[in-house]
Amino acid sequence: MRGRVVPGGRFCGGFPRAVGGALRVRRFPAAVAEDCRSGERRACAVSRRGPVMAATAGDAGAAGAEDGAAGPVRDGAETGEPGPGAVEAPPPALPGLQLVQQGAEARVYRGSFLGRAAVAKLRFPKLYRHPALEERLSRRRTAQEARSLLRCRRAGIPAPVVYFVDYASNCIYLEDIVGAIAVQDHIYSVQRSGSDASSLLGLAEKMGQLLARMHDEDLIHGDLTTSNVLLRPPAERLDLVLIDFGLSFISGLPEDKGVDLYVLEKAFLSTHPDTETVFQALLQSYAAASKKSGPVIKRLDEVRLRGRKRSMIG
C-alpha cells in the first residue's frame, strides 16, 4: 500500500455512524471485522505484485466479489476504504447530502431532490475492473435496477419510487422512505428486547406473501437479505418495502426462484441466530401465497443439497 492513506478503517468492522432517521446499514459481527482486516492484508499482498495492482488495491476484499453474492459478510469485508474510484465520482449535488453507506458496488446518499426526501445510489467507477467491463456492468446494473423497480410498481409490489436515472454517471435517485428500518435491525431489536421468536411470525408471514407475489411476477431479486427489506414506520404495521434491485433479473424458472430463496435463507440464518422457526413460517407463507410455489420449494430443497461439504449423491 505504498503511498496510500488508509483512513483508519472507517467502516471496516465498525458500525457506520447513525444518520438521523433510517439506519439502513449492515451490522457485522466481530468475526467479520477480522476478515476485513485480513482482507486488507490480502489486498496488500496483491499490491506488491506490481505497480498496477498497487493503485487499485484500495477496496479491501473487493477483488473477486464482482458478481455480488448475497450475505452481510461480504459487505462487511468490503466497506473498507472508499478506494480510488471515490475521487473520480463526485457525490450528487443534492442539498442536505449525507453519505448513508459505502458498499463495494455503490455509494448511497440521502438528500433532497426537487423538494422531496430522496436517496441517490451512485455506482462509482471501479478502477480494478477492466474499463470496457466497467462501463457496461455499471450501466447494466443501474438500468436493471430501474427496470425492476418499475416492474415492481406495476405489479403492486412495494418498492421505492424512481425519481431520476442518470445513465451518464450511473446514479439512480429514489424515494427515501423516511423513518424506515431494515428488517435486519427490527429482528435485532426484537431479539434484544428478549421477546420470543414467535413475535416475528407475523413478519415472516408478510415476507412470505411479498416474495410470493414477486416471484409470481417472474421477478428474481438476486440479493435477498434482511437488510434489503425495509419496514415503513410504524414498524408494527409490518408494511414492507423491497429495495436494492441491482442484481435482479426476469426469470420464470423454479431454479432461479429457488436460489433466490436459498440466498435469503442463508443470509437470514447466518445473521439471525435461532430463527429457524421464523424462516420456516416464511416458507410456509410463501408456499400458500404463490400459485407456482410447488416446484420452487422442491428446487429449494435440491439447492440446499449442493454447495460446500454437501454430498451430491442422489
Partner: protein, 174 residues
Amino acid sequence: MHLTHPLELFPERSVTLLLFNRVQNAAALRKKAMEGSIEGALINPAMIVDPFQVLVAANKAVHLHKIGKMKTRTLNAEIIFNLSPNNNISDAFKKFGISDSDTAVLIVLVVDREKMVNLEDIASQVEGQQVSLDELPQLTDIAKVKKIYKITPQEEKIGTLLDGIICRISTKDV
C-alpha cells in the same frame, strides 16, 4: 402565485410554473408555441396531477439537454415528451400539449437563475386569469390520467397515483 423550484443537480437552473384558467386564446397560444415566439412549454393541466410531475420531467429534459441526448429538438418540447409514457413525440404533444379548445394552460419555464425572466410579459400574452398552482388538482382529469399512464389497480394500493406516474416518466427509456 407562480411556483418556482431550483433544479438541485443543475445549480444555475430553476423551473417556474404558471397556471392560467378561463383561457380564451388557446389556439393562438398553441400557434405561438409552435413558432417558438412564446417562452416556455405549454402543457395541458388536465394531465398534471402535481407540480412534482412537471419538475421530474423538466429535470430529465435539462439533463438530456446538457449531455446532448434529447429526443426532440428543443428543451420545451423535451419536457412535454418526457411527460408522456410512450415514445411517440407527436402523441405526446397531442395528449400533453395544449389543444385549441383548452380553457386552462400550464406554462413551464426553465430559467437561468441570474437571468431575470419577465413573467408579466408571458402572462400578458395569455387571455385568461392567472391562478395559483394550488388550483391545479381541480383541473386534473384523474380518469384520463389513469388511462393514459395505464395505472394498474394493484399500483394504487402501494402508492399514490403520482408515484406511478413518476416511475413511468423516470424509467421510460430503460
